[in-house]
C-alpha cells in the first residue's frame, strides 16, 4: 500500500467514529494544554532570567561569603568556643581584612572589595519620609535603567533609585529625578538618627538583579557603615561578603578551579550567574512538578487511546479480514491503526498547543500590564516554535505507543477468522 493511502484510510477510519474519536482527542487535548501552558511559563521565566544573565554586566567577579555552619540550636551538636570565629547577628559567620588579604594570594585574584552592610531607615526629598533598604552597588552591575546612568566607581554620594520611589518622592518622572538631591536617614551606633545627603544618578527598573532596594555608591556605603557597625568595636572590620575580581583571561575551567580554592579555604564563592542559576534551578523544579499534572493527564489519555482503538479494531474485524484476504500485508494493517492513534494524538496536541498559546499569550499580556508591570520586558508565558513542536511530537509518540497494542492485535487477525466473524 502507498503511504498516502494508509494515511487516508487511517483518517477516514477516525472520521467514521466522530464522537468516539473526538472524546479521545479531548482527553489528549487536556494533557497537551497543561503541558504546553507549563512550558509556556517555563520558557517565559527562563528567557527573562537568561536575558538578565546575559546582561549582568560585571564579568570576572565572584561574590564570596564565609561558609556557614548551622548552630547548635539546629544540629544539637554543641561546639567548643572559638575566639577566632567571627560571628555577627544570628550567629552569621563574618569575615575581616585578614580574609581579604588571604584571598588576594589566590591565583588569578585581582582585587577584593568588601560588601558593607548598611541599614538605612528612610529616604526623603522634602517633607515625607519613606522606608528603604540599601545595597552597596557592585561596580559594573548592569541594572536596567529608566533614566540616568549607572554609578561609576568614583561616585561619591550617588544612588540608583528604584522607579517605584519616583512618584512618592514627588518627582514628576524618572527623568526629572535624575540629578536631584535626596536625604537618607539612618540610626548611628549611639542609637541616634543621623541624616546624610545623596544624589540620584539613575532610576532603575524592577528586575531580578535589583532585588527591590536602593543601590548606593561604595563611598556612601562606607560613610554610613563607619557610623553604624564600623563604630562598634565588635563589628569593626567585619564583613558579610567580598566582591572578588579575577583575571579576565580565565577559562571556565580555571574559574572552577578558583572556586574550589575558595571552597577549600572555607569560603563560598559564586558568580552572579551562579546566583541567578539558583533561581533557574528553582524554577525548573517547580516546572517539573507542574509537568507531572500534564503527564498524569496524558497517561489517562493514553488509556483512552488504547480503548478507542480496541473498539475500532473490534468494529472493523471484517474489514481487516477482507483487506488481508485481498493481499494487504500485516504491516499495512498495523500502520493504518497506529496512524489513527497518532492522528488522535496529533489533533489533541495541536488543539492543546494552539489553545494554550491563545490563553497563555492573553494572560501574559494582562500580567505584563498588571502585576509584572515594573519588570520591563518580562513576558510570563512565551511559546517559541521549537518547544511547541517538540511537545506535539512527544504526544504523538505517546499516542503511537498507546496505539501499538491494538494495532498489533489488528495486524495479527487471521483473515478467515475475521471473515467468519459475525
Amino acid at each position: 500500500m502507498r503511504a498516502m493511502d494508509i494515511l487516508q484510510t487511517a483518517q477516514t477510519n477516525m472520521l467514521h467514529a466522530k464522537l468516539r474519536s473526538s472524546l479521545t482527542v479531548i482527553a489528549v487535548f487536556i494533557g497537551a494544554l497543561t503541558i504546553s501552558l507549563t512550558n509556556g511559563v517555563g520558557n517565559g521565566v527562563k528567557s527573562y532570567v537568561n536575558k538578565q544573565l546575559g546582561n549582568v554586566g560585571i564579568k570576572d567577579t565572584l561574590i564570596v561569603q564565609a561558609k556557614q555552619d548551622r548552630g547548635a540550636a539546629f544540629t544539637g551538636d554543641i561546639k567548643e568556643y572559638n575566639p577566632d570565629k567571627q560571628v555577627g547577628q544570628f550567629n552569621i559567620i563574618l569575615m575581616s581584612s585578614t580574609d581579604s588579604t588571604k584571598m588576594k594570594t589566590f591565583t588569578g585574584v585581582k582585587d577584593v572589595t568588601p560588601q558593607l552592610v548598611v541599614q538605612v531607615a528612610y529616604i526623603t526629598a522634602g517633607d515625607k519620609k519613606f522606608e528603604m533598604t540599601a545595597n552597596q552597588y557592585v561596580d559594573g552591575l548592569n541594572l536596567e535603567l529608566a533614566a540616568g546612568q549607572l554609578l561609576g566607581s568614583g561616585s561619591k554620594d550617588g544612588i540608583l533609585l528604584p522607579v517605584a520611589y519616583v512618584t512618592p518622592l514627588g518627582f514628576a518622572s524618572a527623568g526629572e529625578a535624575v540629578g536631584k538631591k535626596v536625604t537618607l536617614g539612618f540610626t548611628n551606633a549611639l542609637g541616634k538618627i543621623v541624616e546624610t545627603e545623596a544624589t540620584v544618578v539613575g532610576v532603575q527598573q524592577k528586575s531580578l538583579l535589583s532585588a527591590g532596594g536602593v543601590s548606593i555608591s561604595r563611598t556612601l556605603a562606607a560613610t554610613i557603615n563607619a557610623q553604624q557597625g564600623g563604630a562598634q568595636p565588635q563589628m569593626k572590620d567585619k564583613y558579610l561578603a567580598f566582591t572578588v575580581t579575577y583575571d579576565p583571561s580565565f577559562s571556565t575551567k580555571q574559574v572552577t578551579a578558583l572556586k574550589k580554592q575558595f571552597d577549600a579555604a572555607g569560603y563560598k564563592a559564586q558568580t552572579i550567574e551562579d546566583q541567578l542559576g539558583t533561581v533557574n534551578s528553582i524554577i525548573n523544579s517547580i516546572l517539573i512538578a507542574l509537568n507531572l499534572f500534564g503527564a498524569i493527564a496524558l497517561l489517562a489519555a493514553s488509556f483512552g487511546i488504547v480503548n478507542t482503538l480496541l473498539m475500532a479494531v473490534n468494529e472493523r474485524t471484517r474489514e481487516i479480514g477482507l483487506m488481508k484476504a485481498l493481499g494487504a500485508h500485516r504491516r499495512n494493517i498495523f500502520a493504518i491503526f497506529a496512524l489513527e492513534a497518532v492522528g488522535i494524538g496529533f489533533w489533541g496536541a495541536l488543539l492543546g498547543v494552539l489553545v494554550s498559546m491563545g490563553i497563555g499569550t492573553a494572560f501574559s499580556n494582562y500580567a505584563s500590564s498588571a502585576f509584572l508591570k515594573d519588570f520591563v520586558g518580562f513576558k510570563l508565558l512565551t511559546f517559541p516554535l521549537l518547544p511547541s513542536v517538540e511537545i506535539m511530537l512527544l504526544i504523538m509518540g505517546i499516542a503511537f505507543v498507546a496505539g501499538a497494542l491494538p494495532s498489533l492485535k489488528a495486524s495479527r487477525l487471521d483473515p478467515i477468522d475475521a471473515l467468519r466473524y459475525e
Partner: protein
Amino acid sequence: MENILELKEVSKIYFAGGEELAALKQVSLQVQKGESLAIIGKSGSGKSTLMHILATLDRPTSGELLLDGKPTSKLGQDDLDRLRNEKFGFVFQQFFVNPRDNCLDNVIMPLVIRGVAADKRKKLGLEILETVGLTDRIKNRANDLSGGQKQRLCIARALIANPSVIFADEPTGNLDSENGQLVIGLLFKLQKEQGITLIMVTHDHDLSAMCNRSIKIKDGQIVGGNQ
C-alpha cells in the same frame, strides 16, 4: 491443459477444545486453467476449508498446494499476500463490502492494496462498475445497495485486479433466484470470455451442473462428483 492449482494429499486438522477435528483428509485435486469447478457437499463437510486452502488464506496441516506447478509451502507471508492480490479474486456468501465506503472505493480496494496510482485505479474502477451495471451507483454508500447489487459490487472488486482465479463461496446463497441468475450469468460470462478459472462452492445442484466439473465433499474427503 496445464494445472493452475493442485492439491497433493492435503489435510487440515483443527484443534478445538482439546479435540482434533480433521476438516480435510488427504485431499488431492487438480484444477485446470480456465475451467469452472463446483465444490458441493453438506454443511460442515469441509468445502470452505478446501477453498481457503486453495486460495492461500489458510495453510494445510500437511500436504502441498502447487500454484502453476510450483509449491507454495516455502513462500513467505509477503509473497502469499502479493500472490492473492495479483492472481485471485474473491466473492463471499455474505457480500463482504465496507458498508460506509462508496461503491467506487469498495471496488478499487485490491488496487489500493497493490499500490496503484489514484487516477489509474479510478479509471479502472469506473470501467469495472460499468461491466457489472452499477455505473449509476458510484457515489452511493455500499450499505445502501440491495443484496444483488452488493454481490455485483463484490464481483467487480474480484475482477478489477485482473485475476487468474475467482473463488466464490456460495455467491448466490443470500440472493433471490432472479438476482442469483444475474450474478451467476455474470460469473460464467467472465469465465468464458476472459478465460478466468472459477472455483465455486455451492449447495445448488442446478448451479453445479452449469460448471465444467464438480466435486463432492463428504467428511473432508472427495467422494465423487462429475469429473
